[in-house]
Amino acid sequence: MSTIEVNNLSKQYGDVQALDDVSFTIDDGEFVVLLGESGAGKSTLLRCLNGITEPTSGSVIIDGEEVDGPRDDVAMIFQQHYILEEMTAYSNALTGSLGRTGFFQSLLGRYPEEDKHEALRALETVGLLDEANQRTSSMSGGQQQRVGIARALVQQPNLLLADEPVASLDPASAEVVMRYIREAAAARNLSTIASLHQVNIAREFGERFLGMKDGKLVFDGDRDEFTVDTIDEIYGDIETDSIREEQRMEVEP
């Protein structure tokens, strides 16, 4: 539903160059995986796309409009989910519509009927319709993260950002959560950028890959170009030995 243009984006925190002249373009409905070590600048990039963080220089343009603050057409899923644990899954999903609801309406819980339906549809998308009225503090980490996804979907965004959405989940929950994100994005033709730590999950879910190192964009390519050498370039020589082993096994027998 939208194209994202990132032009010469840089961000400096004191002496630290978190982002260094990053540029790329993302087309409508692409599922992009952002890779890089901790501190490579992934979170900063996502926060700039979201408008929570202001870049030092450069710009983010979504559908020809420059991002200059948090906007309701860009939704974010956080690593620590950051949902409101005091509230039910349904109430949390509804907060996704705050941007288009007046203050007093939202205070009194008088959301438009279609937003209420939207919230429940989003919970259905992430498989939590039956748990809609459950307090989120009693949910598992994977369920809480899915509530976070539902909130992002209720925002009806044009761009979905996910900042290490599965980093604090066990491998099984991580798979489930990633699958829900991809399915939701596909069903709504949402452009998605998800930063990930786990190379194996990235390979399974990514269509296009962006690799970052020390604030610079060091890789931009699709699945075919995303080779083991690329992973080495992004992460150094760790992590890839098992994948190389696996590939050798696939080729040899």
């Binding site: 979201n50 408008g51 929570i52 948090p70 906007r71 309701d72 057409d73 860009v74 939704a75 974010m76 956080f78 620590q80 950051y82 949902i83 409101l84 644990e85 005091e86 509230m87 907060t95 996704g96 519509s97 705050l98 941007g99 288009r100 609801t101 203050f103 939202s106 205070l107 459950q134 307090r135 503090s137 009693s138 976070g148 909130r151 925002q155």
Partner: protein
């Protein structure tokens, strides 16, 4: 030799430690002497004397015998007679329930808490640095400090022109006091909120007031309810003392009986005060532990709905 060097440095270290300990001991001694002097000064200032206690032991023991009639077997029927005579708890007249002094006192505490709640919420939220930028929040913090600096009893005296000393003005005083105390607790609770959920709400494109309500207040809903219950406990006790200066309820009965030197009646009133304060505390603590625990909202409803079943089950056991 290296071993000599090592033992030499060990000896030096020991000496250092011993000197340090000795200095600390001297400081401790000076502090104890200082406290003793200050304590003595304070006792002199209040005219404290053991001789006085000894001299008045006879009348005090006589009073104790009235406080506890029939000691050591306390004659509770005398208490009960007074409780009924003056309607301290409640009575039934012509089939109608007439709430007694205990309920008047509780009503002062409850109504005062509820009246003060909106003000406490407003002052408490605006006093937080997380909501109001730094110098501005001190306007609200300062207002709360001024309110707190004046005790509830003094607020009741200030409100006298509004209608004398009555349960009404006492309730107003408790409400005012609540704004200062509860507001301060709200401000403190708000300092603890996490940034993550606020940022998440911000990222949905929510407006600034929505960010405060959903990002911050929703995080402190549980502590806010818990602190309000705690203040209700305190206000119930304050409501008793309000009666002592004429605000009605149990306190007024107590001070009237003291004037008549009816110590048995006084103790009967104190028993009812104890009953009220402890009941409020038990209920408040149950509510607080309930909301702190992660039990579903359904379980309270279950508790009520399934109550007849449980009663029946235990009855036929």
């Amino acid at each position: 030799m290296s071993t000599d060097d090592a033992s030499g440095s060990v000896a030096n270290r020991l000496l250092d430690i011993q000197i340090e300990r000795r200095i600390r001991l001297v400081f401790a001694f000076v502090a104890v002497v200082g406290f003793a002097v200050v304590f003595r000064f304070a006792l002199n200032l209040v005219g404290f004397s053991v001789v006085e206690i000894f001299r008045f032991r006879e009348p005090f023991i006589a009073a104790l015998k009235q406080f506890f009639p029939g000691f050591p077997l306390i004659d509770v029927t005398q208490y009960w007679a007074f409780i009924q005579e003056r309607n301290l708890i409640l009575s039934i007249e012509n089939g109608r329930i007439v709430p007694g002094a205990m309920f008047v006192t509780f009503a002062m505490g409850l109504a005062g808490t509820i009246l003060g709640l909106p003000g406490a919420l407003l002052l408490g939220v605006l006093g937080s640095e997380r909501v109001m930028p730094y110098p501005l929040n001190f306007v609200f913090r300062g207002t709360m400090s001024i309110i707190r600096a004046i005790p509830a009893l003094v607020w009741a005296l200030i409100y006298i022109p509004l209608g004398g000393v009555s349960p009404f003005t006492a309730t107003l005083a408790i409400g005012t006091d609540t704004m200062g105390n509860l507001g301060r607790l709200f401000t403190d609770a708000l300092e603890e909120v996490e940034d993550g959920p606020i940022e998440a709400i911000q990222s949905t494109g929510a407006s600034a007031p929505q960010r405060v309500v959903f990002g911050m207040l929703s995080q402190v809903l549980t502590p806010f309810i818990a602190w309000t219950m705690y203040i209700l406990e305190i206000n119930t006790r304050v409501a008793v003392t309000m009666g002592l200066i004429g605000g009605g309820g149990l306190g007024a009965v107590l001070t009237a009986q003291r004037g008549l030197f009816k110590y048995t009646n006084m103790m009967a009133t104190i028993v009812v005060i104890f009953l009220l304060v402890v009941s409020v505390e038990i209920v408040s603590q149950r509510v607080r532990s309930y909301i702190r625990g992660d039990t579903d909202s359904a379980s309270l409803i279950q508790l009520i709905v399934e109550f007849p079943q449980r009663m029946a089950r235990s009855a036929f056991k």
